[in-house]
């Protein structure tokens, strides 16, 4: 399945992806309007620091997703069409079973609303908003294997030009 893949070498930690994510998931879909909304939309992707390097943290859409088993209300499920892991917000009771088991810490508890939020790959849109927003193309929406092959090729090209 296609996922959001990151080229950590290109990420400069500008947070554009985070903002695009929040806007996409706001009620109005507009940055300035979104800021006025009574409940700020939760970011489903968060740019965190890893030993001084930016790391855009997001759901890995695990093949054997522990959050699906853990969810006691049946709100977390695999979308049969895209194979992505999705939360049905209406069913979510904020029991935080998913928060307890997500190995990446990529399901975020929205304590105010009592709902868990995570990357939904911008369901219903052609591409996740963060991917479009990234100025350095650090993010892409691809099959992981394809991303790996492309990354390796690019790295190889880099070393060969360096060698010249």
């Amino acid at each position: 399945m296609r996922k959001i893949m990151v080229d950590l070498q290109l990420c400069m930690g500008c947070n554009s992806c985070e903002i695009a994510c929040a806007v996409q998931h706001s009620q109005s879909g507009d940055l300035f309007e979104a800021l006025k909304e009574p409940v700020l939309p939760g970011y489903r992707l968060r740019v965190r620091a890893s030993y001084g390097m930016p790391f855009p943290l997001r759901c890995e859409q695990c093949e054997d997703a522990p959050c699906i088993d853990a969810c006691k209300s049946g709100a977390m499920a695999r979308d049969p069409e895209t194979a992505s892991v999705q939360i049905d917000e209406d069913k979510c009771v904020g029991g935080w079973m998913c928060v307890m088991v997500c190995p990446f810490g990529a399901v975020f508890p929205d304590m105010e609303r009592g709902k868990a939020v995570k990357c939904d790959l911008c369901r219903g849109h052609e591409r996740p908003a963060c991917v479009d927003a990234c100025p350095t193309k650090a993010l892409s929406y691809v099959e992981p294997d394809e991303f790996a092959a492309r990354y390796m090729r690019a790295e190889a090209a880099k070393t060969s030009t360096e060698a010249e």
Binding site: L8, F55, D69, M100, V101, V107, Y151
Partner: protein, 431 residues
């Protein structure tokens, strides 16, 4: 192939779904003593607190059985299993033949045999039946007593309080949540309960329930006598195994299963609160009676029953709960039994948070988080993977400790972290 599943809950339903994924033609029958659509009993407290409607308690949609071509038999109890004839017998005498059988009968509340516990108004907190009995009893209840200070007892206490009852919690241990957390966390929750009008009596147990047909008072072994018209018992659950007597299926603390969730009888599997599995943290046999384990075990048992060999890595003791707005997550060993363990902990009074990480030989074996619970799963992954955390030890109590902190650790131990997700997240990682 005829598959028979006893139990219509986390383990049974996930088992049935796993079977259906692999075997589209097999005959799948689900039998359940409870006469109720596929609901999650974990939502009973949310219903009492008015957070969800009865419809929202459904774990799967109501057209679910039909959509998966499951034959469903609700309100029917299995009383006997004949392993030589490969059939299960129902209370009304009907016999159901099987080629593969999944035991997913869960557990029932343990009610102490104290004098008077058989009176009207003494209830468990397990099923929708219990829920409705409690709601009925609440109509003429002013004072309710909860016996037991574990997650179930405390959820009941919150529910009863939300319904306007005066609530008393009686616990034998010195602090609340003694099985799932530690004294520090227990004290934080005691304060939270007391602030919300719930009285907690610790270090005492009920030695007599008094009243005529219905309970009227409880008498404690510390001499106190208290009025109450309703008692909710939250003192643990015992696996539902009586129907297995004489069947030859091996039962210890629960039904004994191997790593494929198969019992000693090859055609029979068990999963969920009824099954005794290996705890990954302690390495000991245990019944870890929680929803995530039941669902996962059901899924793996189902796959094995349908012919796809799958192994279960083991269960883990873990809990996530929220009482009067204060969240708790606890995993593994929370009260180290010896000085082989090392404890890192930090309490922040101003934020009302607490975090404790229990280590053994530089591996995390336990976690308690109160107030702030983000990233709990990252600790859990380290526990499950038994990873050496020496390189991040000084970060474990950081408020934002999370996946980015363990990137070098994971990258340096790719064999241990071999699942595709870990690999994918590290493709472009350079140290």
């Amino acid at each position: 192939m005829r598959y028979l599943i006893i139990g219509n809950s986390a383990a049974g339903l996930n088992g049935a779904e796993a079977i259906r994924e692999l075997d589209t033609d097999g005959e799948v029958t689900i039998v359940s003593e409870e006469d109720y659509p596929p609901y999650s009993r974990c939502l009973i407290p949310y219903f009492m607190e008015g957070k969800v409607s009865e419809d929202d308690m459904l774990y799967r949609p109501s057209d679910y059985y039909q959509a998966h071509s499951f034959r469903i038999m609700l309100g029917r109890r299995v009383v006997k299993v004949d392993t030589s004839k490969m059939e299960a017998q129902l209370e009304d005498g009907e016999r159901l033949m099987y080629d593969r059988l999944l035991l997913a009968t869960g557990g029932s509340p343990k009610i102490p045999d104290t004098t008077g516990m058989d009176k009207e108004g003494v209830l468990g907190f397990r099923t929708t039946r219990d829920l409705h009995a409690i709601l009925r009893a609440l109509k003429d209840t002013r004072n309710a007593a909860v016996l037991g200070g574990g997650c179930i007892g405390l959820m009941a206490a919150c529910g009863l309080r939300a319904k306007g009852a005066e609530v008393l919690v009686v616990i034998r241990s010195p602090h609340l949540l003694s099985q799932v957390a530690d004294a520090e966390a227990g004290e934080m929750f005691r304060r939270r309960f007391e602030e919300n009008g719930v009285r907690v009596i610790s270090g005492a147990s009920v030695d007599e329930v008094r009243g005529d047909a219905r309970v009227a008072q409880i008498h404690l072994d510390n001499g106190e006598q208290l009025e109450c018209q309703l008692i909710v018992v939250g003192k643990g659950v015992a696996p539902n195994v009586t129907f297995l007597e004489g069947s030859g299926v091996a039962v210890n603390r629960g039904v004994v299963v191997d790593e494929n969730l198969q019992t000693n009888i090859p055609e029979i599997y068990a999963a969920g609160d009824v099954a005794e599995t290996t705890d990954v943290v302690t390495g000991e046999k245990a019944v870890n009676a929680i929803w995530p384990c039941a669902a996962e075990q059901g899924r793996i048992a189902g796959a094995n029953m349908a012919g796809q060999a799958r192994t279960y890595v083991g269960s883990m003791r873990m809990n996530s709960a929220e009482f009067f707005g204060l969240p708790l997550i606890s995993i593994g060993v929370t009260k180290p039994p010896s000085d082989e363990y090392q404890v890192l902990s930090r309490r922040q009074e101003t934020r009302n948070t607490y975090r404790k990480v229990v280590l053994k030989q530089n591996k995390i074996v336990g976690l308690v988080m109160v107030g702030e619970i983000e990233n709990a799963g990252v600790y859990r992954a380290l526990i499950q993977k038994k990873a050496d955390i020496s390189s991040v030890k000084d970060r474990l109590l950081d408020r934002n400790f999370g996946y980015p902190d363990i990137l070098p650790l994971v990258a340096g131990d790719r064999q241990r972290f071999s699942e595709p997700e870990w690999r994918h997240s590290l493709i472009s990682y350079r140290r």
